[in-house]
Amino acid sequence: MLTFILRRLLQSIVVMLVVAFVAFLIFRFVGDPVSSMLGQDSTMADHEQLRERLGLNDPFYLQFFRFVANALQGEFGISYRLQQPVTQLILERLPATIELAFASATIALVFGIVLGIYTALRPRSLETAVVMTVSLVGVSLPTFLIGIGLIYVFAVELKMLPSFGRGEVVNLGWWRTGLLTQSGLRSLILPAITLSLFQLTLIMRLVRAEMLEVLRTDYIRFARARGLSKRAINFGHALRNTLVPVITIAGLQLGSVIAFAIITETVFQWPGVGSLFVNSVQVVDVPVMAAYLVFVALVFVVINLIVDILYFLVDPRLRDGAKSGR
């Protein structure tokens, strides 16, 4: 047990280092921060001087080493763009992203499961064909277009919902929440829907496929033969067996929702870490970009680790596998 978790932890650390390295490598190539930091009044001498002061002239390995050493202490330096500590910037914006991610994950989960069950129980009906097709339209459109389209319809034409931002927020300690005000909740609707569409389709299809498969298994047939009610079979047995893999996948997807939020946050001017990242890319704010990537990697490594450990606890076969050194 302990060896398994330790090995997993070790692997996670390696993954984090690789991500940090790749992140760092890339940012050397996305552009020159110095030219966006100094205005048009600057001279070449100023550019050279600033590059020297930022340590951008140092050898690559030295810069990377410095970055990792600082990152280990939770220190990602000062944003080139906003001149504030990066860790603070990310922590300030984290609540917005997490609330958006949870809201859209909830939408995706609820509608995904309901529609998935429905389409599985009536595989040949017209409604199923419609739902399956319409859900594909959702993933066939780029996210930015869906966002703009929703804004156009619900904010500009119908004037029902806010067009951008997070509405009024309330501070609960350091956590700034938009869930406690009416304007905050109204602001959440459009971005959450936009962000949820992709996962919704994914979960719906997953539930449908799992459910169809479970319904064909022998024990459900036996249950039918025993004369159990349809309702008891469908929801008591089939659904329960379907949900385990679905919840796992949905959990794993949460990390990906947070990262996916980049585009949605940009379109809706949602003040989360995703829009911070996009704003930073535009001016090559390396400290923020690197911190963001490491943060996303951390989120998914942690989620993966939890899922792995849970699996380990639940599934005895894996435990044997671990012993035999696989």
Binding site: R28, V30, Y152, S256, I263
Partner: protein, 318 residues
């Protein structure tokens, strides 16, 4: 309940050509009985043909800047510009015929999408075979990387690969290489699904006797695996490939939205949508609408085909 016509069709002609064998196969049968799939395949085939034949059938060549007249810009659909050119679907901000840019743009999008998917497929199948066969450290490394890949949104990975490529290629050659960079970026972002599927199938096959026999006979067991595993996983791989193709087309569009795509003088569907999106509030709806509809039609029909393929190849779901 569906078994009767099915069986009679399959057993009727004993010796037939390959074509009729195919026509009588399960696949063909399920195809004929799914009107949605028939429509989707017709739409997809039309769009693909249109894109392939663009240089011969498009009314204008929007990729040749010398033929453009800026003063033709913003001509509404089904009307003539001041210089007397007729535009069925209107013209865009550069005086390009929207219909022609869609034809040429689909060509770019499909080329990028198909090439990227093929790249992902070759990579994924190859790595999946290695991981599944070799096991141990190689398996751990490959599957860990695949985990990273699957957890990061593809778009972020593509963005990163794009960034690296920009840094490695000298500035004055970047535009020529842009399409290839896109293909590699999207391809690298999508290989993990293939690898997972193939690895699973390989691990099952590896246990079988013939592999051990091959090893004893001195035949490279890897080759044997390739020959035996591939046919088994071809179905799922094809499904992932089809859906991957739709994803790749959307990813290309999103990358264009973020400003890292093909050159604007040779726009893809995604670039066209990015440009058209600027005119959402200004009244020139056709610049956005037609490319967007085309993109949806393309992605949707390919997705529906993938769906059908999945269901048709999975006998338990029929």
């Amino acid at each position: 309940m569906t078994d009767l016509p099915h069986n009679s069709e399959r057993t009727a002609p004993a010796k037939t050509s390959r074509l009729s064998a195919f026509l009588n196969s399960d696949l063909a049968w399920s195809y004929r009985h799914s009107p949605v799939t028939i429509i989707a395949s017709i739409v997809a085939a039309t769009l693909i043909l249109m894109a392939a034949a663009a240089p011969w059938i498009a009314p204008y060549n929007p990729f040749n800047p010398a033929t453009l007249n800026l003063m033709d810009g913003f001509t509404p659909p089904n009307s003539k510009s001041m210089s007397g050119n007729y535009f069925l679907l209107g013209s865009d901000s550069q005086g390009r015929d929207v219909l022609s840019t869609i034809m040429y743009g689909s060509r770019v999008s499909l080329f990028v999408g198909i090439s990227a998917t093929l790249l992902a497929m070759v990579m994924g199948v190859g790595l999946g075979l290695v991981a599944g066969y070799a096991g141990g450290l190689a398996d751990t490394i490959i599957m860990r990387v695949a985990d990273v890949q699957l957890s990061f949104p593809a778009i972020l990975i593509a963005l990163l690969v794009f960034g690296i490529a920009r840094g490695l290629i000298p500035p004055n050659q970047q535009e020529g290489a842009a399409v290839w960079v896109l293909i590699i970026a999207i391809g690298l972002a999508n290989w993990a699904q293939f690898a997972r599927t193939v690895r699973g199938a390989t691990m099952v096959e590896r246990q079988k006797d013939y592999v051990a026999a091959a090893r004893i006979l001195g035949v490279n067991p890897f080759l044997i695996l390739l020959r035996h595993v591939l046919p088994n996983v071809m179905g799922p791989v094809l499904v992932i490939g089809t859906i991957g193709l739709a994803l790749a087309i959307i990813e290309e569009a999103t990358l264009s939205y973020l400003g890292v795509g093909v050159p604007p003088t040779q726009p893809s569907l995604g670039t066209l949508i990015r440009i058209g999106q600027q005119f959402l509030f200004s009244g020139e709806w056709w610049i956005l609408f037609f490319p967007a509809i085309t993109l949806v039609a393309l992605a949707l029909s390919v997705n529906l085909l993938g769906d059908w393929l999945r269901d048709a190849l999975n006998p338990r779901l029929r």
